[in-house]
Every structure is written in structure tokens, then in C-alpha cells.
Amino acid sequence: MDMKFDAQAEGFRAEVRSFVESNLPDDIRAKVSEEEMILPRDMMQRWHHELFKQGWGCPSWPVEHGGAGWSDEEHYLFEREIALADAPRPIPYGVVMLAPCLMEYGSKAQQEKFLPGILTGDQLWCQGFSEPNAGSDLASLKCRAERDGDHYVINGSKTWTSDAHVADWMFGLFRTDSSGRKQQGITFLMIDMKSEGVTISPLENFEGTHEVNQVFFDNVRVSVDNRVGAENEGWGVAKYLLGLERFGTAEVGRSLASLGRLKTLAKTVKVGSGTLLNDSDFMNEVARAEIALRALEVTEQRFLFGPGGSESMGAEASMLKVRGTEIQQDILELAHQALGYHAHAMIDVASPENDHNPAAIAKAHYNFRKTSIYAGSNEIQKTIIAKAVLGL
């Protein structure tokens, strides 16, 4: 047993670190360091373009499609280093989710049509799975796609669609048959967001962020060429997609960066004649969070680099999401508590001694309540573990 990375891996880590150091634009770094998960289109694309030029735009893809051909350790260290440096997360929907589905289930023509735009980052995607009445119980979705010759005609709506307002395309699940089991009769389609009949209606989170939307479809025509997999067999594609993410679900790197900021905050927030560092109760909480994060970090490493490697990771990965999001929320909550009265203002009120930005921290702390809800809520993840790992 050996918990150190070898010299070659450390060399790679240094390469990533220095690349990010010299290529990450300051405005983007500043936004990410304020715990902004949702970036404007322009920022997403500028950063992706830097990575693309380096050959790191879609590193997890197979080499023949433009991937980097990295080992598991290299993938891990890449995600870790970009997170620690406050670089944006990889673009999730096109790069991480759709592209592998196209490689697995898509036609050659679809791969040729869509992969290049995803690789360069010129084409952004969104994910149309959830509906007002189909969230955790995704298979009960109702948004209809009726066959009309070589087209489907879509009617209904998708909701909580992140980035629909910045995306060029949506991939989603649509009901093509309601006669059998609910998992049957679902079809996976790709829709141009500029199609006639698509209306994007913004939704506002309680903390004021606009990141999700409801997307309405009114007789939207989609060519059968934009179907991935067979008609009525979209559920299989969706299951493949949802099982994809092995790296980064725990967001350990991001949480380490947040924890670093929390510690700096503790050092700078003045309380009486000292700082929060002198408040042993508060620092106990920080210590507790740091230990929990370390336990998660090693657990993720054990899953990725244990016997069998990352390929053998199954439903255990669900626990990384559960604990990872709990810890994210915990750290931001502590940051919020550290701010005391300063956490109330919705704008940054200048404070000469303190260089932190309380408004952003407070807002992020509200925003991050979402993390235990989306991408399979933590309750659903626990049910997955109960069934698939514990056999209950």
C-alpha cells in the first residue's frame, strides 16, 4: 500500500499546475474563487478554448476522437489541479455526458456532426431530462415526441434545465410510447434550441441566480437523424449516461480550495481583540470539516486506485456524491457563519482590512443547497447504495 503519486505523476501534476497558472484568465479565476459554478457562456468558452489548444479540451475521450489518452492517475490529478487553481469545471453536458453516449450509441454521421463542435467548445449543450412531474422518478416523464414520417413532433416541457439559455442544443428524453412499462417507450433525442416552437422561460433560484429554465415545446419538429439509439430505447442510453462520471463527483479539489479560503477567512475576520482563529469552538468546526474532507479524499482514491482500478467502481461512487455534497455545503455554511453580520449585504460593502467578498460567499452558500438535490438527490443515491451495494 502506498498513498503517494510517483515521480512521473508528480511531473504531470506540475505541468498542469503551471499550465493553469499561465493560461487561466484572471476574471475567470476570480469568478470561480467566489464559488460561482455557473459561468457566462463567454467564460466557459474562453477557458475551454485554452484547454483545447493544449489538447486537454476533452481529455477523457478516446484518443481517436481528440482525447488525451491519460491514465487514471493523470485524470485524477488534472481534475484536482484545475479545481485547486480555481479554474472552471469541465463543461458538463456536451463534453462529459453527451459525447460518450454518441460514441457508444450514436451513428457515424452523428459523431461526425456533433463531436467536433463539442471538442472545440463552440457548441454548448443542455440536458433535458427532468420535467415538472418527473424528477427523481425520471422514467415517469411525459413530454411527448410523436412520429411524423422522418420527424418527431415534440409537445410538453422540460424543467430545471441548467444552461438552456446559453446552450445551442439540448439532448433529452421524450415519451414515444406509453403503452408498456414506464422505462419502455422513452426516446433519446437531440434538439436544436433555435428550432421553431422552443420557448425558454427562465427560473430564478431563491438566492437570485438564474441558472435553470423551463423549456416549452410547441410542435417542435426534430429529424429522426437526431435520435440516439433506437426508438423507445432511450432509457438504456440515459442509464449509460448517468453511470459515466467516475472522476470528480466528490468534488474534493473544489472543497479543498473552499476550505483554504475558509481558513484564510478565519485568519482575517476580527473578533474582539483577536481573530476567529482564537475561537476554539469555531476552529473545532473547521477541523471537523477538514478531517471529513480528508476521509472522503482517501475514500475516492481507494475507489479509483484500489484493486481493479476505477473500472471496478460501481454503486459505491454514489457515496462520493452524497458525502461530497454534504461537505461542500458544510464548508460554505462555516464560511457564512464566519462572516457574522457581514453576511447580510447583497453587495460587497467595502471593508478595508478584509479582502474577502462576503456577498459572494453568502450567495454561494445559499446556492449550494442545490448540490444535494441535483444529479440524483442524496436520498436517491442512498437508495442506490442500499440496493446495489448492500443488497437490501
Binding site: 500500500m1 481558513k263 482517501v298 481507494r302 457515496m319 443488497g391 437490501l392
Partner: protein
Amino acid sequence: MNFTFSEEQNLFRDSIRRYLEETYPFENRAKTLEHPNGYPEELWQSLAELGWLALPFAEEYDGLGGSAVDSMIVMEEIGRVLLVSPFLSTVLLSGQLIAAAGSESQKRDLIPQIGAGQLKLALAFAEANSGYDLAHVSTSAVKEGNGYRLNGAKCAVFNAQSADIIIVVARTSGAVDDQEGLSLFRLDPTMDGLEIKNYRTHDGGTASDIVFEDLFIPDKALLGDVGTAYPHLQKVIDQASVALCAEASGAMWAISEQSGVYFKTREQFGQNLGSFQALQHRLVEVYMKCQLSQSLVYDAVCALDDFDVLEQSADGDTTNIAQKVSQKVSAAKYQVGLDARSVGQEGIQFHGGMGMMTELPIGHYYKRITMINATFGDPRYHLKRYRDTMCQSIISAT
């Protein structure tokens, strides 16, 4: 980065598990505990034959040169089957302390005997008012002629009752909380003037409270150099703390697995307990705690092994790194302690009325876990120790 055990380690674990399951099945536990020391005497010779007793010691003292990972393997298996034995007291506490602090001739004399199963030892360090602070020693050893005069008292000396030698931590100089001025003495438990009160402990083992009243001990009873015991003691207690975490981790996994089996077999309201989501999610919490705790045990064990290598090769000052290692030990002792406690409590609750019965292992795991928490520092103590180091590094970070 590699989390795979070596072929040798896997065989070692298999041999331990086979031996323990065959020799100490839970059904016989009550009978086994009827032995006055909580274990049958033949156990010790078997452990010597299996290589446990020589495991961590250097080859020059007839040891096997095992790593902290190897000790962890033994302790995890001990935890699974609730083995009562003086293994920790003799090998990982007293033996390792002799290896760290003893003179060359003391090591040559004692360690091979420990490895061969000829000696059992106990370490007397805690006192009624010491809490978990190793430096708080009021037992005094005052130089007098060709020996020392010992006064004071020790409590909770595990396995003193069956020990051939008791090592006592006593103050030869300095004030009661000073790290300087602590020395180690070896005592023959049968010597005159030693007041020993033996008792059984909740986990089925034994411990003793010992009083020294003007007890004269000769110079040759001194282990290692006078006044320098603290850093050695600290290091050995850190190592033993991680060993206890490994034992707790073994117990946690056993609780989790046994609860899973119970959920699949026990029926109420016409269905398995495991079909109730309120219980499913709680068992998932238990499972996650087992995984996370195990990770921190690995983390601490690897830090101990890395530090060992470093100490042997480096000539510079290693205090800074030693502090980091201690911090990892505290992280494990804190989190494992907290999680083990909750897993133990959940395990009992999951079994309902049966969970309260002595014929089920669950409650016995919980008792052992609880005792582990109250040994070498409870979760609160270790969180504080972790925090202090963390705050220091925040201050020194630029």
C-alpha cells in the same frame, strides 16, 4: 498510488482470519472469558507461532520487520472477532516502547523473548488525574543510592494481571505537566510492596490500578536514558492509537455486515426489515462511515510508515513532519471514534430487543468500541489536538 495489499499481506490476513474464526468463534466467547485473564494461556504460544508477536520488531532482534500496515491487518482482524489478548499491551505498547527507548542490551535481552512468546508486558502510564495527557505524571522516582524510590499510583494498566513485566512511567525531574523528566522503569509484578488491584473490564479483558508507596527499585530497572521518555512514549501511543483505530474499523465492518444479514432475515409487518427505507438509509450511513473511517486508518498507517523511512534516512530536524504525522493520527482517532460509536449504537438499534442480548455480538462490539474511544484520547481530545496543529499552520502560512 496503490491500495493493493501485497501477496504476503493477503496470505497473512487469511491465516489470521482462519485461525481466529476457528479458535475463537463468537459462540465460545463467554466460555473463553471465564479464564481468569480473559483468554486461555495456550493463545499466546499460538500467536507466537503465527508470527504476530515478533511482527513489528527489527530483524536484528529476531523480529519480522513488519510495517504499520502489517500491524493494522492484525488489529482489523482482532476487531472483527472481539479477541481479548495482551497483544496490544505486550507487542505494540511495551515492546515498541522498549524498541524505541531501551538501551541496546535491553533490546537484545527483551525483544526476542517477546517475539517468542516468553514474555508478556504491561505499560503503566495513565494516572487518576492525567486525563489523556501523557506528560501529566505525578508518580515520582527519586534517586537514592543505587536505585530509585517510587511513589504514586497508576490506573487502568491493561493486562497487568497476566504480565511478567510492568513498565512504569515515572517522573525523575520537573513539574507535574512537564514533558521533560519522564523515565521508564521495569518492574516485576510479584515484587514486595507493590499494591495491585486487579479488575475485569467491560470488554472481557483485565486491567489494574497500582500503588507505589516508597517502593525501592534498583538502577538496573531503568529502561533507556533517564528523563527522556516522553517523545518515545508519545510516538508509541500514537502508533498504538492507530492500531486501536484499525481494531475499531474491523469491528465497524462486522457490525455493518451483521446488520445487513439481520435486515435480510428478520421479518416484521410481513416483510424484511431491509425493505423499510427508514432503515435502508441508516444502514447506508453506517456503510459510508465504515468506508470513510477505514480511509483515515489507511491514511494514518501510511503516514507512520513513511515517517519511519524518513527517520531512518534523514539527518535534519523531523519535528515538523512528526507533528503532521501526529495530526493524521488524531484525525483518525477522532473520526473513527465518532463513527464507530454511532455505528455501534445503530447496530444495537437495528437489532431491536435482540440487540440488547448478551448472546449477540453487537453489544460486545459496542462495548469494545466505547473502551477504545476512552483509551489514548477520545474524539473530543483528538479533535482539539488536530485543531491546535491546524491553527498553527494557518498562522504560519503566508
